[in-house]
């Protein structure tokens, strides 16, 4: 995003209310690298992201997204790995997400009752899906960005790969045609 575009947005919208100087600086400095040692999200933003993660992959009898470090992973990816456009979209989406929750529930997403949280996410998902269906080439909406990060973060974590998937230690094997029931019984060991 270029400086002029950003200033125009700043002048015309309240989209950046509540952003930290670091976040604004990140937008103003295309390609500038940020150290991950510095927190990128505000506490409120991190709480919202944490609650989001917890609903997408909750803790059950196995660890959920929050316990496997997905929140930290999202903060890293948004602050460092995302390009300027993606980062802007994510942060604007997050702001909108919080404002929307406030207007619907009178409280933050993290503090809203679970039924309301689920309803809000469902609404967001439907909206994002219909935008994507209307234009498959359109840039990813906040909901899809955030959910994608949760899934990628979780299933590339050690717990996500080893406990949640049929992870087979090396040496592995290949048999093209094995009855599924046999695999399930042996947990992939042959």
């Amino acid at each position: 995003m270029d400086r002029r575009h950003l200033l125009k947005l700043l002048g015309t919208a309240t989209a950046f209310a509540g952003w930290t100087p670091l976040q604004l600086e990140a937008l103003l400095k295309p390609g500038g690298t940020r150290s991950i040692d510095v927190a990128f999200f505000t506490d409120a933003q991190r709480e919202a992201v944490t609650a989001f993660c917890d609903l997408i992959i909750p803790t059950t009898d196995t660890p959920g997204a929050v316990e496997t470090g997905v929140v930290e992973y999202i903060e890293l990816m948004v602050s460092e790995w995302f390009d300027d456009g993606e980062r802007e979209r994510f942060m604007r989406g997050l702001t909108h997400f919080e404002e929307h929750t406030q207007s619907m529930t009178g409280t933050s997403f993290a503090l809203a009752p679970e039924v309301r949280q689920v309803a809000i996410l469902k609404g967001l998902e439907a909206e994002a899906n219909s935008l994507r269906d209307a234009d498959p080439d359109a840039e990813e909406e906040f909901f899809h960005q955030a959910r994608g990060l949760v899934l990628h973060g979780y299933y590339t974590s050690e717990v996500g790969m080893k406990d949640e998937q049929m992870f087979i230690e090396r040496p592995m094997f290949y048999e093209g045609d094995v009855p599924l029931i046999e695999l399930i019984r042996t947990g992939g060991d042959r």
């Binding site: 690298t33 790995w81 590339t156 050690e158 090396r170 094997f173 093209g176 045609d177």
Partner: protein, 372 residues
Amino acid sequence: MGKREEYDAIVVGSGMSGGWAAKEITERGLRTIVLEAGGLVTPDDYVMDVYPWDLKYRGRRERAVQSLQRPIQSTCYACDAWSEKFFVRDDENPYTTAEGTDFSWIRGRQVGGRSIMWGRHVYRWSDLDFEASLKDGHGVDWPIRYADIEPWYDHVERFIGVTGQAEGLAQLPDMQFLPPMTLNCQEQVARDRLTQAYGGERLITIGRCAVLTQPHNGRAACHYCGTCERGCSTHSYFSSLAATLPAVVDKWGIPALRIHCEWSDNERKMLQEMSVQAAEMLDAVGARDVVSFVEDNPPGLTIHEMGTARMASDSETSVLNGWNQAWDVPNLFMTDGACMASSANQNPSITYMALTARAVNHAVDLMDRGEL
């Protein structure tokens, strides 16, 4: 300056072709040096055992660095956070293309060349391919036929180890096969249905790969970790490093190329037709909601670059004779893809290897007879 060394043969490059040249020449007892522009690859460079959670962005590459260092290489499917070090840095290895054209030149600069991260698929050419340019009237006729290269395919395959299923097909001659990997249950159903739908005229067969399904020539069988582009510490797929190289290394610099290459109408039409045929076959095996598409990739991205110093039986229309020997410089043999008089749908490296082994043995025969 140290002591002056003399060699009977100089091999330039230690990739797929250079590795074979070095192996064949040294086996014939010649003093050989391999000149290699890239550095050594050590077992520590193999990263098949590194998991996503060990990497900062969990296997996603740092994009700012990538767009600076490998904007072209990173368009290759195999160039990821693990394997990118096996691909050249574009900023350090520039080339230009003719105006208005594009060419994705995917390269590896290290001992072993691109045999380190190749896709390992190997298919013989047949006379359908060696006669194609003659029949189509494109370019020049190949100076060789299948019979000339067949024993060299045998020779190379016995050494490298190839898994696949013998099918007796005219267009994809059977190879010296190790046991095939099995088709999975869906593929078996698709194979049966396709055979039926096309009355045996079309066939699904398991991929033919330079991967060991059993121990072979001192190399271990594959253990199916599936991340071959990152290197294979058990040497279960063929690479120069694992199999052919006696390993001598040197450094060299080269002038930058200007590449002229464009798709023609013919290629575009073939692409369209492939997409139609693929959709028809999926339909015939019972697939539903088939979506067909054509990817418009720039030339080069398939990494099967061929030609520029083609072989033919006539020095007027070619650079090399039918033994890969330069018409103008009799002691120069070019055995990589540059020699190809036409391309085919098969992945080409097994043919480069067979041509290399054939050319080297011919050259040494000439030397033995005092004719070179």
